[in-house]
Each structure stands twice: as C-alpha cells, then as structure tokens.
Symmetry: C2
Subunit: 397 residues, 2 copies
C-alpha cells in the first residue's frame, strides 16, 4: 500500500485482497438502495399509457412531503443546473436586476445563469467556507428596491456550508422580490419548508438526498412565481414551467420524463416514509456530526462555518496531497469521496452522508480516511477518528 503506485498498476491490482467494491460518499451521485435498483430494473412505464398519471401523482405528493411544501412540484428531465436555469427563465426579463448571495461554486452558478440570459446581477459574494450574512440581503434591497429576484443556495456542495435560508426569507417577507433557492444537495438531508421560509421557488435533483441516479430535476413553485412568469420575456420552451403546470395537471409531461427514475422515486418515497421523514433529517444530522467529530479528532479542520448535514468539507494540512489521498481511499479502500473544487483542489476532502448511508457506512468512510491519512505522514492517534465517530453515533440524541 503506497501512494506512489502508478495508475496503470492500480487498475490491475485493486485493493490488497484483490476484490474491488465501491462505496459512494460523494455529494452526488449517492448510493442507490437495492429496492430502488429493483424498482428501476423493470420494463419502463410508457409515458402515454394508463399507469403514468398515478406514477407522476405519487412523485409529486411524495416530494411535497420531502421538501416540505404544499406548492406545486414539477419534474424535469435534466440535471440540477437545468432546473436552476428553469428558475431563471421563468421569473425574469433581460435587463431585470436580480440579487445573488453566494459563497461557493454552486452559488456562483446563479450568477452565470442570470448573465447568460442578460439579467443584470447584483452579487454579494462571501469567502468560501463562510455563510451568507442575511443582513446583506436587507442592505441590497434597501439600496435597490427594484431587485426582482433573490437567488440563494441552501446547502453549498463545494464548501459544505448550510446557508441561513430562513433568515433571508424573513427579511424578504415584506418585499416584492421573489426568493429562489437551490436545494439540490439539501433536500432530503434538511427540511426546506418553502412557505415558512418565504421561498417562492426551490429546486432539487434526483442524485443527492433522493437516492436516485442523476437525470431528474424538480422544482417546487409557489403562487407568486406565476405572476413573475406572466411578465417574464426570457425565451423558453423546454424550461417553460407553465407547460409543466398544464400537462402535469392532466397526468402528462410536456417532454418525455425519465420514467425509470420515476419508478425508482416511488420506491424511494416509500423508504423515506417508512423511516419517517423527520427521522431521515435527524439521521443526516447525526451522521454529519459524527464525521465532523472524526475530523476534529484527527486534528483536521471542518471548512464550513455553518455546516450542512449533507456533506462535510474537511480542510487538509498543507503537507497532505488531497488528490493522492482521495485516489488512495478509492483505490485501496473502495471509499469514494469528493475532492476539493476550484482553488481547493488537492486541499480538501468532501465526505457526503447523503441518502442511503447507515451508521456502519459512516464508520467505513472514517476508517478509510484514517488509513489514507496514515500514508501521508500526517500524525494522529490511529483509531481516534473512528472512536469519535462511534461516540457520536452511539450518543443519546
């Protein structure tokens, strides 16, 4: 076991015992439960056939419980970025001004999307690892009451930060501005109650807390969005949520949906209801606490000032090569974690506990992190991370 092993040799060798098995602790895609795999393996449902409307209705009602919200939920064949684009295209005109509050790679995507459509962006950017200060939203709106939409991120996947959507929403409660939130990596791990947080439109995607493969975006859409939609002049066809509203109310979709993911979602929703959705959120909280406790016990720093329960971004000491570490964990332990993005490439591991992860899974991830770190020369008490995780997992809630 050495970090110096060449890639070619690695591919042939696998783990020391000769067996290769992969465990995903990446913040999307996440592990697919066996029941969900089975549900997806059947003959695809014909989207013009008699079984489709009930499948669609089941998905919508289940997602309303998961967000939670009573608003309409629409399903689109796309990634998270696609449904984010739909949020922009349905609420704005070229030349409109919008506020983006962000502190990471996915927050910055709102800015890129708005600019691609000719929307003028007022951006309030915070350093990676910090949470957006909700007061900047109040200030920005005071300076420019013409801001039509405020875009924010709930769980920022590049930094592991949970932004304070509730406080931002409170500030927006007596304004005309719409509040649009990226819940791609938060939904399923944290509640995102749209009405209580004054969120008008929230988006998420299939491959995170919803335990499905990537390929389906979801948008929860409140009543104020339709007024904005009415005046929006941005060109849209595939992203036109009005068409989804019309079609889905009739049990159809305006474009072919990924029907195998819908069949999988039916099984996912059943699993989430069996566990109890509040308990699913508690599980994510407990698992994230365990990972954070392990990192601290290993002498490492949690990057996020206000950590998300979806994933933990762990900053590595300068002496540790993060790319080699994650590759080692994957190759030798079968534990796949995310690396750092952007300027944090090689300086971070991102350990996700999203979705189909149980307590033993958390211990697998932590033990692999320890084994990997031992190769790097980083000094710590072997087993300390696993012990901290065990303590956190067995502590009385």
């Amino acid at each position: 076991m050495s970090l110096k092993t060449s890639p070619a040799r690695v591919e042939n060798r696998g783990s020391p015992c000769g067996l290769r098995r992969q465990r995903l602790f990446t913040p999307g895609p996440t592990p697919i439960p066996e029941r969900v795999q089975t549900a997806m393996a059947g003959t695809p449902v014909y989207h013009r056939g008699p079984e489709f409307p009930a499948l669609l209705r089941n998905a919508v009602e289940g997602l309303q419980e998961v967000f939670p919200t009573s608003y309409d939920v629409f399903l689109l064949s796309c990634s998270g970025t696609g449904v984010m684009e739909a949020a922009v295209a349905n609420t704005l005109c070229a030349g409109d001004r919008a506020l983006v509050v962000q502190a990471g790679q996915f927050g910055a995507r709102w800015t890129d999307l708005c600019r691609a459509y000719g929307v003028e962006v007022v951006e309030r950017e915070f350093p990676w690892g910090e949470a957006v200060d909700p007061q900047v939203v109040a200030e920005a709106l005071r300076d420019d009451p013409g801001l039509r939409v405020v875009f924010a991120t709930h769980s920022e996947t590049s930094t592991g930060v949970l932004h304070d959507v509730a406080s931002i929403g409170e500030i927006l409660s007596d304004t005309e501005a719409l509040f649009v939130v990226d819940g791609v990596s938060s939904v399923g791990a944290h509640p995102l109650p749209l009405e209580a947080c004054n969120v008008d439109l929230a988006v998420t995607a299939s491959q995170k807390g919803l335990m499905l493969p990537p390929g389906m975006g979801m948008a929860a859409v409140g009543p104020r969005v339709w007024k904005a939609h009415g005046r929006s002049r941005l060109p849209k066809f595939y992203w036109n949520l009005e068409d989804y509203r019309t079609s889905m109310s009739e049990g159809r979709a305006p474009a072919t949906l990924p029907v195998t993911l819908l069949a999988g979602l039916r099984a996912v929703l059943q699993m989430l209801r069996e566990e109890g959705i509040p308990r699913v959120w508690e599980r994510h909280a407990r698992h994230a606490r365990a990972v954070r406790g392990s990192a601290a016990a290993l002498g490492l720093t949690c990057f996020a000032r206000r950590p998300s329960n979806a994933l933990t971004a762990i900053l590595l000491p300068g002496s540790v090569d993060g790319v080699a570490l994650t590759e080692y964990m994957r190759r030798e332990c079968g534990v796949v974690v995310g690396g750092g993005l952007g300027e944090y490439r090689g300086r971070m591991v991102r350990v996700s506990n999203l979705g189909y992860v149980d307590d033993t899974g958390i211990l697998e991830a932590v033990t692999a992190l320890e084994i990997g770190l031992r190769q790097t020369g980083w000094e710590f008490e072997a087993g300390a991370g696993v012990k901290a995780a065990q303590d956190a997992l067995t502590a009385e809630g």
Copy 2:
C-alpha cells in the same frame, strides 16, 4: 375477454391466465436488454472520478459509429425535445429566419422551438402521413436566400414516415444554410450519415433505437455549426454546446450527466457492435416489412407514404375504437403499442420495432393486434396477419 371490461376490474384481473407481463412496442420507451439493465444496476460512476473520462469517450466513439459520423458527439441530460432546443439555441439569433419542413407532431416541434426563441419561421407543412417533398426546400431557399437553418425530421414518430434527408441535403449542398435533423426515432434503426447527407447537426435520444431508458439526449455537431454558434445571440447556458465541446474534450461534462445511462450505453454499444451495426439496420428493415405485411393481410392501411423502419403507423377502420383496441392489447396480451396522436387519437395504432426486438417479438405484437381486432368486429381471416409476418421474417433477404 371483452372490450367492455371496466378499468377497475381490469387492474385486478390482469390477463386471463392471471399473470401480467408487459412487452413494449412503443416508439419510446423501448425494451431494455437484460445486459443493459445489469450494467445500469451497479454503483453509479462518480462523474468527477477517474473512471468517467473513459466512459464518456466510449460513448462518443460508439455513437459516432451508430449515426454514423466523424463529427463531435455531445451528451446532455435531457429528453429529445431538450437537445432539439439546444440545436436551435446554438445556431440562431432572434429575428433570424429559418425553414421548417414538417409533416407531423414532432416536425412541428421545430417550429414551436424556433418561435419560442423569436426566430422567424418559414414553414412548409405537408399532411400527416406524407413525406416532405425535397423540392420545397429548393423553392423556399430560392424565394428567401437569407434562411439560415433548415430544420427537418428523419423518422416522424407521429406518422411513421421516413423523410428523405439525403435528397434535402443534396439540395442544400451549395447553399450557406445549415441543415439540422431530428434523428430521435431514426438513429439505430436507419443510418443517418451526417457528412454524406450534408447534415450539420443531428440529434437523438436514449430511449428509442439506443435501447436505454429516457433521460439522455445526443447531438452530433459538424464544423459549420461552430461558425453559426459564434454569431448566435440566443441566450443559453445549459444548452451551450461550446461548453460541452470544451468540457468533453477534457473528459468532463458541464452539468452532471446521467451516469447510469452512460454505463448502460457502454453495454448497448457492445451489443450493437456484436450484431454489427449494418445488420441492426437490416433487422429494423425486415421487422418493419413484416409489420407492414401483417397490416395489409388484415385489411388495414399503412399510414405512411414513405415508411420508416422504426415504427409502423396503422390506420384503423372507422368502426374500430383505437383507444379501446390498444388498451385491450395492453391489458389482455401484455403488448403495449402506441395509439394515434393529435387528431388521429383513437384512429391509429403505432407498432414500434425499435431496439431490443427479435423476430418472435414481432410475432407477439402481430398476434396481439389480431386478438384485439377480433374483439372489435373487424372482419379478417384469423391468423392472416401472423402468417404474413412469418412469411416476411423467413423470406430470403
């Protein structure tokens, strides 16, 4: 067995033998081969991990064989309509004029897409069931040499017509206009050689001839498209093919791709190569001939003047309720075929032989059609359809 059975009773009863099994003969989704199901059931590939670039490269090279083309092929997380929208957004400006030649529901989608983006459409529409006369393209371009793009459909899924893309391409060979073709239901069933047909951009999707679930769109893009892209001012982010070109050349994608479909596509491409891609096209031709022969033997009319080998649209006599017929075939025989779309709802069955369908499969479809027709009072010699199909399937090629 009666057409009068109520839906509620049907759901509980299934077929007379009490067993329910579904066989798809719908023009998308199509049956998923067992090998492909297995390939998709594994742990999802992490799109930022070391296995992803090879998976992506394999997909691109295989699709180049299937179209066939030497042009770049890009993969997008979307339905066929989504990748059609990408074709519009990357080649035009608002106010540009484009020609749409169409004769069916999916051909008309080009018009809707262009208009949604403020493109001025010159439309040449033919009655459903007819093929576009390529000469109208020459005339339209003579009348208006400023037409920047010609949009056409290869296999029109609503009518079962194969449009003469080669002849349209020949007319376009000495013009500046780009040629963009919807190959959603043709690719895999018919060759669509982009270079030989002067096609600059062709799109297809996963759930037709490619034997995958819905959720992935593909665009084959020739060199002249990039010049049009350079002057195109239509807003785009998710659909920006330039971003796909940059990312995919580095083994990445600008948005999360449906990695399970990519894993499935690897298995699909292996199957297509084992059979031999020209033989796959021949199989589709032979199967479509068999279905057409059966329809004639049953006294029914094939709707398409110039039939596609992807599906056969069969016009029903006025006395036959097509909705009840397809529902009966599904319920009692487990054979799912498409019904008529638009004004042909209830007046047509569309029997698809796309993808994972063998000779016995064709006989299943035809025998179910016969059983269904027997309930309707339509008079024909029982077994005549099956006999005609057997004759066609066993005839020396």
